[in-house]
Point group: C2
Chain length 341, copies 2
């Protein structure tokens, strides 16, 4: 089978590719992956490009999408996205990257399905719990789930939710076999802070482990749903492999997360890496970030996803330990842990 | 002030224009209407074009929209739309007419607001209770309202709901001052049957009053929310004149309707026009239409709209009498009533 990952050079996309080719032995939904295309604005990691099954494509999805009409993809993981902070700062960027690109991808898959009469491509879309946002007129539940009314209060959340509805309709019409996974915040992200308002949820763990200070821009009482990169990737694979019937009349599904406060995250860091590492986190409130995060749910329930066997971690310590295990061979990433723990 | 009505030559649009210029004496939201532009694919009615304040524009909205960037509209009623049956039959038509056109209109208004720093144009969007649809996995409430989770099961419903969310975000960003009114089925529509699956809700009254047979394609037990053309128009004006605060964090509002069964509609027809007129309605089930209508809500509640003083009729007889009063001077429209009552 032929698989496309948009955003395939990114952190989640590359991990998904490694999981498919490695731990899952090149098989997906009972079939062998013959070709895995990683499309992204940056080049995919060298280890992936070295695999003969992998083809990298660099460029904007919106510009590539029309050409996809002639390619028989069996499965598409659509992960490419501008992040929440970028979309708030640059409205047109968000609309283009998150809405127009998804529409172009859907239309490419639709045109091929209509022209050839082939089975619709299976499409896994990375949505977000940012589709939920507090409408000032209505009580917002502390914990959101599949039956919560989405009233997103960010451009990112609106764009994701609009795509969910479009995917549901393209699916109902038989043009694609679409599934939208509403991801919780992935943590601990490797690398540097990005434009996402949620960036600090990784930064307050990653930077101290590397021996660097990290700014905490919100109150420690802030509660949030998080999941590790690997549980996120495993969840996306399970969403892909689920039967069409498991999604019934709607395509979107809330993914599980560990509902945790920032204080609990910091306590877990102290427990795993010691108080000196923990002390590298410095509170310094950022009203812009605090304001965006205040509009996010405090936690999730994920009944439908759990029925598919999709789970998140049950302890934040496990999430920190996954990051440490992932970075055993990256000495600078764990400099703080080594020198201060 | 300068007002635009898209779909301004249509039945609701023209009635809205006559109401604004006539009953409301050319005033809207406390200001005088200097110019009223009626944009549509067909020419506006001659009586409206004869008014010096009225300018008609014929053509597709998508092609006109960019030019709107340079026009200082204070209020836009965006009523132009492909109807539900058309959107189900022709997917691309629905996406272009209902989604792309609305997006182009929003972007035109946004560009002007951003370029000039002017107050955002007030935008009243005709959405539909077709945003609600029964998700097979979840119990669908008999009566839908502002807090019901929209899981539309038609392309039309998806397109309307997507536009609601885009309008909410353009509003949150300050580009427009948008409000989406989820209209119930307008009845009695004048003229001929159209492509809407709801067309028969008018046909079973209009055709018998004209002395013609009408086909009833669904069971008489089917329940639906309806409102008269005038209550619909009055509702749109009230939505326009409401304060921004009345809409708070979401732009969409369910409009009131009279929840009525087809049987009750037919009984009202017999009462107003007599049993011989009523007998012109012939049951002949149409599975396609029955299937679409089965996915619609059986009725509505409209708490938020009612708080703004928006009401529908409380008796279907009143709705029939409005149609009769509207057509006093159209002898063929009331031929059945005259000859058979």
């Amino acid at each position: 089978m032929k698989v496309l990952i948009t955003g395939g050079a990114g952190f989640v996309g590359a991990r998904l590719a490694r999981t498919l080719l490695g731990a899952r032995e090149g098989r997906l939904a009972g079939r062998r992956i013959e070709q895995l295309v990683l499309a992204d604005q940056a080049a995919a990691p060298a280890d992936l490009l070295a695999d003969p099954r992998v083809q990298g494509r660099v460029g904007k999805l919106l510009e590539h999408a029309a050409a996809l009409r002639d390619e028989p993809f069996d499965v598409v993981f659509h992960l490419a996205s501008a992040v929440s902070g970028e979309c708030e700062a640059d409205f047109e960027l968000g609309m283009t990257s998150n809405l127009d690109s998804t529409r172009a991808l859907l239309d490419a898959l639709r045109h091929r399905q209509q022209r050839t009469g082939a089975a619709p491509a299976r499409l896994v879309f990375s949505s977000s719990i940012a589709v939920f946002g507090p409408d000032p007129a209505y009580p917002f539940p502390d914990v959101v789930g599949d039956d919560t009314l989405p009233t997103p209060q960010t451009s990112y959340g609106v764009q994701k939710h609009v795509c969910e509805h479009l995917i549901a309709d393209y699916t109902r019409k038989g043009y694609v076999d679409g599934r939208a996974a509403r991801l919780v915040t992935v943590t601990v992200r490797p690398g540097r802070p990005n434009g996402a308002a949620s960036s600090f949820f990784s930064g307050i763990i990653r930077e101290p482990l590397a021996g660097e200070e990290a700014i905490l821009p919100v109150d420690p009482g802030v509660s949030h749903a998080v999941a590790s990169p690997q549980s996120m990737v495993d969840g996306l694979v399970k969403v892909c492999e689920a039967s069409r019937e498991a999604f019934v009349g709607r395509s979107a599904m809330t993914m599980p997360g560990l509902n945790v406060t920032v204080q609990q995250m910091l306590d877990a860091l102290a427990k795993v890496a010691g108080p000196r590492v923990r002390a590298l986190v410095k509170p310094q409130r950022d009203e812009r970030i605090a304001g965006i995060v205040a509009n996010w749910p405090k936690g999730v329930t994920a009944k439908r996803a759990e029925a598919l066997g999709i789970v998140a971690e049950s302890s934040f310590e496990d999430i920190i330990r996954q990051y440490i295990a992932d970075h055993r061979d990256h000495p600078t990433a764990l400099k703080g842990l080594r020198e201060l723990a």
